[in-house]
């Protein structure tokens, strides 16, 4: 286990390791299955061609899947040493 984080060990300006995630329709479908968010704006490419909820004729990624990237930066860094998120 990595060294425990403490208030003193964290400094303003610390840069946490970046994370990357490739996104395609399959990734979005998997996220829909994991989150139960089957909103057609994410899952139904044919419907999106005409509905154009975001002004685009294609599905968009779930907002929470984007948010999960921010979570991942924190969970990769703090959770292995017992940390927890309190607010985002």
């Amino acid at each position: 286990m990595a060294k425990k984080l403490t208030f003193e060990s964290v400094n303003c300006g610390d840069v946490l390791p970046e994370v990357k995630q490739h996104i395609d329709q399959e990734t979005i479908w998997k996220h829909a299955a994991g989150s139960f968010d089957y909103n057609p704006v994410h899952t139904n490419p044919e419907w999106c061609k005409t509905a154009q909820v975001f002004g685009l004729p294609v599905p968009v990624q779930h907002g929470n899947q984007t948010m999960s990237l921010m979570c991942k930066v924190i969970t990769n860094w703090a959770y292995p040493v017992g940390g927890r998120m309190m607010r985002m």
């Binding site: 998997k30 899952t43 005409t50 948010m67 999960s68 969970t75 998120m85 309190m86």
Partner: protein, 216 residues
């Protein structure tokens, strides 16, 4: 599809299955490949289904200050937590390996911080709070507070309150407060969600038909 003067919906699904989009794309079948857990197998993944759409609450009907406790409960199983992390996707072993999680200082398998999303969509199926399912809904922002870890075996209850709604640049916004409690009444998560929604049932029905309807 027919909408009578009272706004009741009648759709002959045999004749018009959303212009057969589902049949053409097979997108529901594609997603079904990823259904592993008991809840995933039982949960309806078709948010355009008319018999569900008619039970949604629409923007113009939302009462600010109205509170409700969602009748559907969520019993947390390890497979649920793992399925969420897998869907993110996040392969951090904390979300899959209880022994490793304990070694890292946690008291059991760790729920992904956004696991509450799965809980919300599972329990919010109709009426008050069904806004998140509305075809055409957009999520421009949210704030989440984590008060206590979700653990395997928890039985979660959700409470909701319509918090605010407003119109800005022709778009219909609403904000709600969402709280998740365990079987002992302990607060686990509090969230403030904001949504842009179609305004009326008629607008949602236009979305169901695949028409753009947000700036109705």
């Amino acid at each position: 599809m027919v909408v009578d003067q009272d706004g009741n919906i009648a759709i002959d699904f045999v004749k018009c299955r959303y212009n057969d989009w589902e049949v053409k794309m097979g997108y529901l079948e594609e997603m079904a490949k990823y259904h592993k857990t008991q809840k995933q197998k039982q949960f309806g993944s078709d948010f355009l289904k008319a018999e569900e759409v008619k039970d949604y609450e629409f923007w113009d009907k939302i009462e600010i200050g109205e509170e409700s406790e969602v009748p559907v409960k969520f019993e947390v199983k390890a497979e649920d937590m793992m399925a969420y992390a897998e869907g993110v996707p996040d392969d951090n072993p904390l979300f899959y390996d209880e022994a490793y999680a304990k070694k890292c200082g946690h008291d059991g398998l760790v729920a992904h911080p956004l696991f509450g999303t799965q809980v919300a969509f599972f329990v919010l199926r109709k009426g008050h709070g069904s806004w998140i399912r509305t075809p055409g809904a957009r999520n421009p922002g949210q704030i989440i507070e984590w008060h206590d870890p979700i653990r395997v075996g928890d039985i979660l209850t959700m409470k909701l309150r319509g918090y605010d709604k407003w119109i800005k640049r022709g778009k219909y916004y609403m904000r709600y407060l969402r709280e998740v409690y365990d079987q002992n009444g302990k607060l686990k998560i509090r969230g403030y969600g904001t949504l842009i929604l179609p305004k009326t049932k008629e607008d949602v029905l236009r979305f169901v038909r695949g028409e753009h309807a947000l700036e109705a």
